[in-house]
Point group: C2
Chain length 493, copies 2
């Protein structure tokens, strides 16, 4: 694979000097067009061998283009806040908004590659991580992000010569460290692992560009050529239409029976039972969240979804009443903000993941995409179709990062909902909670029921199952909510 | 001072049970009205003695109101990312947006108080920190934030009895730690320091409420009473008009001579000199930023302001060309985003302060408030008037956190500006950079000159001076920019 990048490519100085200003002007022009349309973000991953000019390439991109529209990120050791989240969290944080170019030194390949080279991960885990990266990139591309990946290569012989030359000159000696020589000793292993990685992750949506790094002029012009070509190809295209996902068709239940139909909504608890149970489960929740070995290693995410007026708010208050206010955060999910709209849709959820010992309660969640956005036609079909897999991926990452994930659907009947709406109209301080929209949504009861059915079918996984909560009786619902959360935490502990 | 909070206040159970539901309903109502108007944020600081019910109060607020509209923050040790910024950085990060209530456990008093009690800071430093807190709170109030501060008190005797009672019962024994007893031993000192702190920071805009913490019913109802009264008083009021600052009138220079008039805009460098100097200063900049003892302890902030078309972008590129792309970030400052508009105006700058070893370049900056916002009438006069002091405070905090702050004003003449605008019209890829607005701004040349004059007069401080850059000649300007930055860094190193 690397043979083509060991041929000794070179560009003559006079040719370079002729070409460079043209590229600079064209790249600037493309960059401003990118900014103007604000339809796409661009991620440039710069990776490769030591001495192959990775740093120089990043600097070149900043020098040739308008650096105000470029965000550059290097990744050292994760900070303590980052280390407590899933490994991809810090790369999500670094994603550029629409209209900008994000240049990532090493990018999300960094950890996977270095851990494999050092032997910290075996091949199976390595492939799993690469698979996850592939899915991340496919998701980004689907969301209209242009993903460009450059691998700068240098042959073993040339690397050795370079290090020796640098060491000879007192003014450049500092640039060669013992780390560099250590990595030189590992050269063959690195080359092998890199080949595997590049092959595995050179997907149609985001192929690697393999570039010989020895000659700076050749390297610069090649990077500029690829970047300019890809920018031009995609400029003006509407972001999310780049990649049409062939979503597997959903098989509607032909007998019309949906998962919610199986619920016995008449389940009830009387006041006395409720108060006794409430005390008991709140106590157990408090205890479970305070256990020091749980707190040190785990976090909790609770997702509340359900029909309008199903009692999400009241249930959430029964949960938080059992907790110390410093232990939890509630994220009410409404329409995304301007900054959030400039990012892939999962970005806003990544940014509020809990640290260890914390519980984040999502009052509505990332499932909005396959519920309200699907039913109301707020996003194209292929976008919500692929969301099922993206969500499963996302939750898998949470579970691997030792987050307990609890997903609750609070279900009420149409009659009960109407009764509650009427009640809200007549209680003064509840009137805030009811609007025309709520009545409009009722008209789509069947569509929502189908969406819920598909959601449960596709995202109720072994590691992150849905719990359907019969919520016509508020007492019963609140206790079931509490019990589900407590048992999930206790099972982990 | 604490005598009134040692009287043994009590509320009978039946009275409490009668009052509680009323308060809950009224607080909810006020909370929704707060959300609806989205004019104000509310900060509630809960502080006080051990065992006086601080945690319980925070939990009560979350239980009585809608916790989805409350953000609760406890503050432990700063994370490594926080420790590299000014001490108030993490409190800024925790500010609630308009429409929400932020409950802060200890809040910004935490560090100042604990350091004083432990003796880590002497009295002079303590008073300085309190002074800074006062200015922060005044600024918040001016920006329409409602700041409520509760000090929950417990007499020494009652604290002792409480700890002993808790220790006796096996089920509550875990709640009393050796830390608690240590703080009990320091009780008298803590009381003294707290008295000084409360006296010093009980300002008219944000007074402390001193509440006896022994009786939970009394405590809850008192906190609720104060909170409800203040919410009601300020609901519906437009945020920023709360506090009228009496800004000291500016004394316009009666001879009409302004600071920019003193500049010799004919200063020039020929191409050869320029290229030689460019090489020299870029080399020195690179070296200065790489020095390891500088990198470990310091960061750099560079502010670029100047007339339109004064060459900010070109100058910035000459600076960044000398740096490794991982060392700097450029923050182009345009109109604030939605999330930024929901916060005090300095918030957006706090969030992009550099970590150690990093340089953040602001392409326009917080000075927008006293330049474009003043001249275009985008904010009321008292807001930009008080901004001078707020900015000086902000920069002082940066300098204390070992940030090198360089502020550059690039000045060109009216004739030169017109020539550059015409040039931009005629070069294809520069056309992005010129719009009607640019011509409109020209009409206000005199107003801008006055604003710049006042800005320099009021914010060119000893620790953060302005450098005026004669920029009719781009060569001269770029070298002066580089030299100014390099010398500032070298002086620190």
């Amino acid at each position: 694979m690397f043979e083509t990048a060991e041929l000794g490519h070179k560009i003559a100085r006079d040719e370079y000097e002729r070409e460079e200003p043209k590229f600079r002007e064209e790249l600037l022009r493309a960059q401003y067009a990118l900014k103007e349309s604000a339809e796409r973000a661009v991620v440039v991953v710069v990776s490769g061998m030591d001495g192959a000019g990775r740093g120089e390439t990043v600097n070149m991109l900043n020098a040739w283009m308008d650096p105000r529209l470029i965000q550059t990120h290097g990744f050292g050791e994760p900070s303590d806040e980052e280390a407590e989240r899933p490994p991809l969290y810090r790369y999500w944080k670094a994603l550029p908004p629409k209209g900008k170019i994000g240049v990532m030194f090493g990018g999300w390949y960094l950890d996977a590659f270095e851990n494999r080279v050092s032997g910290a991960t075996k091949n199976a885990a390595f492939e799993r991580q690469l698979e996850r990266i592939v899915r991340l990139e496919q998701m980004l591309v689907s969301e209209g992000v242009l993903v460009l990946k450059f691998w700068l290569h240098l042959s073993k012989e040339k690397q050795k010569k370079l290090f020796q030359a640098l060491e000879k000159d007192p003014s450049t000696r500092w640039r060669v460290t013992t780390e560099n020589w250590k990595r030189f000793d590992e050269y063959d292993r690195r080359r092998l692992m890199a080949e595997q990685m590049l092959r595995y992750t050179s997907i149609a949506e985001a192929p690697w560009s393999l570039i010989e790094g020895d000659d700076a002029r050749y390297r610069n012009l090649t990077v500029a050529t690829v970047l300019l070509r890809e920018l031009r190809k995609h400029l003006g295209e509407k972001g999310p239409s780049l990649r049409k996902t062939e979503a597997p068709p959903l098989a509607p239940p032909i007998d019309g029976l949906k998962v919610l139909d199986g619920l016995d909504l008449s389940k009830k608890l009387c006041k006395e039972e409720y108060e006794e149970e409430l005390e008991k489960w709140q106590g157990r929740l408090n205890l479970a969240m305070r256990k020091s070995h749980f707190k040190r290693r785990n976090a909790v995410v609770v997702v509340f979804e359900g029909n309008d007026a199903a009692g999400k708010g009241g249930s959430i208050r029964r949960v938080t009443a059992a907790l110390d206010a410093r232990q939890f955060a509630i994220v009410p999910v409404a329409a995304p903000s301007e900054e959030e709209r400039a990012q892939p849709y999962l970005w806003r959820f990544f940014r509020c993941l809990p640290r260890r010992g914390q519980m984040t309660i999502f009052d509505r969640s990332w499932y909005g995409r396959v519920l309200v956005e699907r039913v109301e036609g707020l996003c194209p079909e292929d976008a919500w179709m692929r969301a099922y897999n993206e969500i499963n991926d996302f939750e898998e990452q949470l579970v691997e990062a030792r987050v307990v994930v609890v997903k609750l659907w609070l279900a009420i009947s149409q009659e009960e909902q109407l009764a509650r709406f009427n009640d809200r109209e007549h209680v003064d301080f509840k009137r805030f909670k009811i609007g025309e929209e709520d009545y409009r949504n009722r008209a789509k009861w069947q569509s929502y029921a189908e969406a819920v059915n598909d959601m449960v079918e596709r995202t109720s996984t072994d590691i992150c199952p849905w719990t359907l909560v019969e919520a016509n009786d508020k007492h019963f619902a609140r206790i079931k909510v509490l019990r589900t959360i407590v048992e999930a935490i206790e099972n982990r502990a």
